[in-house]
């Protein structure tokens, strides 16, 4: 069974979250963690309604992090020290992710999804991400990765390959793939035809990634639904997602 969801940088508001839940087939949502996110205070309300929640952590990005570059430059002469320093920095950010989840009252064992927006194949970031995973798991949360297909395939290959530091310390993430069948560019007008309602489209089988549990496959569209009073309501922009789990935050436990 496939469960529909959505994610949006901006929180739709408590009334919309209730109305969408009551009147559409959407069953889970992305939830941006951290003090800069307007999703941050709303986890208890969302959970009370019944939504599955995929918490999203915004961390250092592959290929473009000045801090990871600084760590590299300080340790460039010693590859082992470099990997250790990158790992340790990741652990700190993993602990921060858990602190953010706790601040939002997100329970233990929930999977936290690291949001990769810049999908450069960056080996330094790999060590950082592995440390991040350890920092999260050691505090009794689970790890996920929200990225594009090529980047996910590269990372999974690295995790299962040779040459890793701490080769027996591997946390395999739950994968959430961003690969669009349809999209609108950021900042563009959303055509009226791109406000979707039930039934929402399923991912194109040609675009799915076999190791993934979730897919973001329609980007920057709108959501249209008829509320309980018979009035048409809209919210945009949203990305449409699907998952094999009714609640991607609890993963397979939610499917039992």
């Amino acid at each position: 069974m496939i469960f529909s969801g959505f994610d949006s940088a901006g929180y739709p508001g408590d009334a919309n979250m209730r109305s969408i839940w009551d009147n559409t087939e959407l069953r889970w949502c992305g939830f941006y963690l951290g003090p800069g996110s307007d999703w941050n205070p709303h986890f208890p309300q969302i959970q009370d309604i019944g939504w599955g929640v995929a918490p999203i952590y915004t961390g250092k990005q592959p290929g473009s992090s000045h801090k990871l570059q600084a760590i590299h430059n300080r340790n460039a002469a010693d590859p082992k020290a470099l990997k250790t320093a990158l790992w340790d920095n990741g652990v700190l950010d993993g602990q921060e992710a858990v602190d953010q989840a706790r601040a939002s009252h997100i329970p233990l064992n929930t999977i936290l999804y690291f949001d990769v927006e810049d999908t450069t194949l960056d080996p330094d970031w790999l060590e950082y991400y592995r440390g991040w995973s350890r920092g999260v798991v050691d505090r009794y949360y689970g790890v996920g990765l929200y990225t594009r297909r090529e980047h996910a395939a590269w990372l999974m290959g690295k995790l299962m390959g040779d040459g890793l530091s701490k080769p027996f310390d591997i946390c395999m993430p739950t994968i959430w793939i961003a690969r669009y069948n349809r999209a609108n560019a950021n900042g563009s007008d959303i055509p009226a035809t791109d406000f979707l309602g039930d039934p929402l489209p399923a991912p194109d089988p040609k675009t799915v990634y076999s190791d993934a549990a979730m897919w973001q496959h329609i980007g920057n569209f709108g959501l249209k639904w008829t509320d309980s009073a018979g009035k048409t309501r809209k919210f945009a922009p949203v990305d449409f997602d699907t998952s094999i789990y009714p609640d991607p935050g609890t993963g397979f436990l939610s499917a039992i």
Binding site: G34, Q61, K67, L121, D122, E150, A153, A183, N186, S188
Partner: protein
């Protein structure tokens, strides 16, 4: 040349900017369109090798034959190749239902993923690309060679 105009700012606050650590979210001050910025001229400007300002070991090379190669110094397995082309609202890509008028977009297709960027700035020394989907992440490069 500065290229990106009329593009609404995406949600961006100082906390998120800090989290992304140096690689910028879109800014409302992302520059105005410059008259005469043809797609052909921008394509010619892109040809060559660009080094990430956020990570000097990452380079992106645009070739005349329509190929683009991402390399990561010290790790051959992180090399990624794709095909690139530019387009605008006049000849938009079928994967994007709607684009912003006046903005030139870069399409990179590696056979596994198609990635779209809005070109924010492209001149002899600097290249700024903004992912056209998801949260609109911005990446910056400086030229190291060509054309």
């Amino acid at each position: 040349m500065s290229i990106l105009g009329g593009l609404a700012a995406q949600p961006a606050d100082s906390a998120l900017r800090d989290r992304y650590d140096g690689a910028e979210l879109p800014s409302a001050a992302a520059s105005a369109p410059e008259s005469g910025s043809s797609t052909t001229a921008i394509a010619q400007t892109l040809i060559g090798t660009w080094q990430s300002e956020g990570n000097s070991r990452f380079t992106r090379t645009f070739a005349v034959d329509g190929s683009v190669t991402d390399r990561y110094e010290g790790d051959e397995s992180s090399t990624s190749k794709a095909k690139w082309r530019l387009f605008t609202a006049k000849d938009r890509d079928p994967l994007l239902d709607s684009v912003v008028a006046g903005v030139t977009y870069l399409r990179m297709d590696n056979g596994s993923d198609v990635t779209f960027y809005a070109i924010v700035k492209a001149d002899r020394r600097h290249l700024q690309l903004r992912y056209a989907d998801r949260r609109g992440f911005m990446v910056r490069f400086r030229r190291v060679s060509g054309p």
